[in-house]
């Protein structure tokens, strides 16, 4: 048997790697074991061991490829390619995918991922965005064959109408689920005219079935979406990491419909109450105006009454004055009558009527003494009726 030809180390390592890749494990290798000595260097390179009672194998992954943080003691199933690294001569499995084995590992993985995403601020309440109050265009990411899909549409139809729904059919479990869902988010973000809000939903399932909704990729797609996201996954009690990242977290697919739109009956009631509020405010204003008017009327009446009283007072004063004046007039006219009578008694005409006469000289001067005229002088004798012109014939 001839001695084999000497190979360079590079040739030897290359040859082994080719044999592993092409002949021994053409589909890669799947190993189920416990994790040990898990560590991450520079935030980029991940190293851990897979071990059982008798053997140990080294595993390597980039942080980009292995998103799920692991922990020593976790039971996992690793898919990868066995390889000898030329530079170190070290044999390890380059990890493509890690699945958790058993409920315990799944729960632990969930918890580790939750902590990682929380530390990165994906669940921060202050980045939650409001969804439109009355959405008109909705992007729905779901399996169109699922009960979740039909439940969501049924409840939505019960509550609200006129919504345009763009449905993106995706796998919600299995190996394509993460890529489908992440792709659907990218699609809706690239077509903003289709959706002003995105709903991601699926029905309940075991923790294993909900894997995609607990994956970092989907969580980051929800987080990065420029369109706000409602997530409703599983039953009431299920929680997924996508729920935590969502802008609006719904407990079930039906609840997602409830959180998405109002109920038309509630809105009808609200409209009714709007109209009532306006009516009441107007009625109140009208009533208060009527009240003010009544007040004014009363004030006016009071003014009129006051003016009237003043007028009455003046009138009665006036009346009193008039009465006083009258009695004074009466008194005065009595006095006048008396004086008139007295005056009349002095009237010379009355004396003349009794037979007396008044004798005047030619100048009209009344004669009281015979000596005051000469004999022969002309005199006038005034009687009660008429006057005699006479001549003095003698004086005695």
């Amino acid at each position: 048997m001839p001695e084999p030809k000497a190979l360079s180390v590079s040739q030897f390592v290359d040859a082994l790697n080719i044999v592993f890749a092409d002949k021994v494990f053409p589909d890669g290798v799947t190993i189920e074991a416990e994790v040990a000595e898990y560590r991450v260097s520079q935030g980029k390179w991940i190293w851990f061991l897979l071990k059982d009672e008798n053997a140990v194998v080294s595993c390597f992954a980039t942080a980009w490829q292995l998103r799920q943080p692991l922990e020593d003691g976790m039971k996992v199933r690793v898919h990868g390619l066995p390889k000898i690294y030329a530079k170190s001569g070290k044999f390890s499995v380059t990890v493509e995918r890690v699945e958790m084995v058993g409920e315990g590992a799944l729960k632990r993985a969930f918890e580790l991922m939750r902590k990682k995403l929380e530390a990165d601020g994906l669940f921060a309440p202050e980045r939650k965005r409001p969804i439109p109050r009355f959405p008109e265009r909705v992007g729905l990411i779901a399996s169109t064959e699922s009960a979740a899909y039909s439940d969501f549409l049924r409840i939505l139809g019960n509550r609200w109408g006129g919504v345009k729904i763009a449905a993106a059919h995706v796998q919600v479990q299995g190996k394509d689920a993460v890529r489908d869902i992440v792709g659907a988010f990218a699609y809706f973000n690239a077509h903003p005219e289709l959706a002003e809000v995105i709903v991601l939903t699926r029905g309940g399932g075991a923790l294993e079935d909900l894997h995609a909704f607990n994956s970092e990729e989907v969580a980051r797609a929800v987080f990065a979406s420029k369109v706000p996201v409602v997530v409703g996954v599983g039953h009431e009690r299920d929680e997924t990491l996508a729920d935590y990242v969502a802008d609006v977290r719904a407990s079930t697919p039906s609840n997602a419909a409830e959180r998405l739109t109002p109920d038309r009956r509630d809105v009808a009631r609200e409209l009714e109450s709007c109209v009532q509020t306006m009516e009441r405010a107007l009625e109140k204003e009208i009533a208060s105006r009527a009240h003010r008017l009544t007040d004014l009327e009363h004030q006016l009446q009071a003014h009129v009454r006051a003016a009237r009283a003043e007028f009455d007072a003046v009138m009665s004063d006036l009346e009193r004055c008039l009465l006083g004046f009258e009695s004074r007039v009466r008194t005065l006219s009595g006095a006048v009558e008396r004086d008139e009578r007295l005056l009349r008694s002095f009237d010379p005409a009355a004396v003349l009527r009794r037979g007396y006469a008044i004798v005047r000289d030619k100048d009209g001067k009344v004669l009281r003494a015979a000596a005051s005229v000469d004999t022969g002088a002309a005199i006038a004798v005034q009687l009660a009726e008429g006057t005699l012109d006479a001549e003095v014939t003698a004086r005695r």
Binding site: S41, Q42, K44, W45, W47, S58, F60, T62, W64, Y85, A86, K87, S88, K90, T94, P132, R133, F134, E136, L140, T144, L153, L156, G157, W160, G161, G162, V163, K164, I165, A166, A167, A168, H169, D176, R179, D180, V182, G183, A184, A186, Y187, A190, L194, E217, R220, R264, V267, A268, L271, C274, V275, T277, M278, A281, L282, K284, E285, I286, R289
Partner: protein, 89 residues
């Protein structure tokens, strides 16, 4: 945009305007002249909104796309995996 779509798009606006008017009524001394004008506008908006409530159907259109094609374009993987190889383990 069709007339019907325009009507739909206005629902949120109409509702918001109506709520604004109601707030005005609730907040301040109501001036009767202004109030009557606003009341009339409010009734019109309420009527508009009610007619929108009568719409019962939602339209569903399924997108015919392979979404996994859109999934790429995230972070690129590190260029050289060997960089990460430890010197010794």
């Amino acid at each position: 945009m069709t007339a019907k779509e325009a009507k739909k798009a206005n629902f949120a606006e109409a509702f918001k305007e109506l709520e604004g008017i109601v707030q005005w009524f609730e907040a301040s001394e109501v001036d009767l002249e202004e109030g009557l004008k606003k009341f009339e506008r409010g009734l019109e908006l309420a009527r508009k909104c009610r007619s929108r409530l009568a719409e019962v159907e939602n339209k569903v259109a399924e997108i015919k796309e392979k979404f996994s094609d859109y999934a790429d374009g995230g972070e690129a993987p590190p260029e050289d995996e060997d960089e990460g190889q430890p010197r010794l383990i």
